[in-house]
């Protein structure tokens, strides 16, 4: 059982609403990531963080934003959801070398977002 939790698992929301996808991990991992994945398709890195107060945009441009105020928490926010944001969002974490789970990416169960 993974120690990285995402909520909500499923969200259906109307256009223009603000949404926050939560991601928390209890492993003490310093690195956290958000991937966007359409069903059965490849993963696209949209945000990552190497530690508290450190966030970077990933390889795929996204209108979402992230924050990293606490080590264990890495929420993703969409200020105004649109149908084009419909997708699955996967949160993941990894540890610095030497710690448990070092060099291995551990994934959450995902948040499936549908914007009507």
């Amino acid at each position: 059982e993974a120690d990285i939790y995402q909520t909500p698992r499923y969200l259906v929301i109307g256009t223009g609403k603000k949404i926050t996808l939560e991601c928390s991990q209890t492993m003490g991992h310093d690195k956290m990531y958000w991937y966007q994945q359409d069903p059965g398709m490849e993963l696209h890195l949209i945000h990552y963080s190497y530690g508290v107060n450190s966030t970077e945009k990933g390889d795929l441009s996204s209108e979402s934003t992230v924050s990293r105020i606490r080590t264990e928490h890495f929420p993703l926010t969409l200020e105004s959801a649109r149908p084009s944001h419909t997708s699955q969002y996967l949160c993941a974490s990894s540890a610095r070398t030497g710690r448990a789970g070092a060099n291995v990416l551990t994934f959450g169960a995902g948040s499936r977002l549908t914007v009507l």
Binding site: Y48, L90, L105
Partner: protein, 117 residues
């Protein structure tokens, strides 16, 4: 820039048989990590196996083993005695060594494995 290529969008295998999934990558680095991840339908992505580039010995995990050919930049996954529960999307991934200062994982496009009863 590093790239990961999975040339087989879909593969099928008969239950109890063996199947090999292909993965090639491109990098100029000498130290890095390679991974195979499994994503069952509507379920969590989990690590299947990993390989450190500096290790010549191929990694094995029960029925799963890899054929790591560093010079050819090839990293295939062999699943022996296939089971119905092996049906999933399989993603090959690459990560540079930590001394590079980057910890981004690069994923291939995935191979969908079907297991036939």
């Amino acid at each position: 820039a590093q790239t990961v290529t999975q040339s087989q969008p879909e593969m099928s295998v008969q239950e109890a048989e063996t199947v090999t999934l292909s993965c090639t990558y491109d990098t100029s680095e000498s130290d890095y990590y390679l991974f195979w991840y499994k994503q069952p339908p509507s379920r969590q992505m989990i690590l299947v196996i990993r390989q450190e580039a500096y290790k010549q010995q191929n990694a094995t995990e029960n029925r799963f083993s890899v054929n790591f050919q560093k010079a050819a930049k090839s990293f295939s996954l062999k699943i022996s005695d296939s089971q119905l529960g092996d049906a999933a999307m399989y993603f090959c991934a690459y990560r540079r060594d930590a001394t590079s200062g980057t910890y981004k994982y690069i994923f291939g496009t995935g191979t969908r494995l079907k297991v036939l009863a």
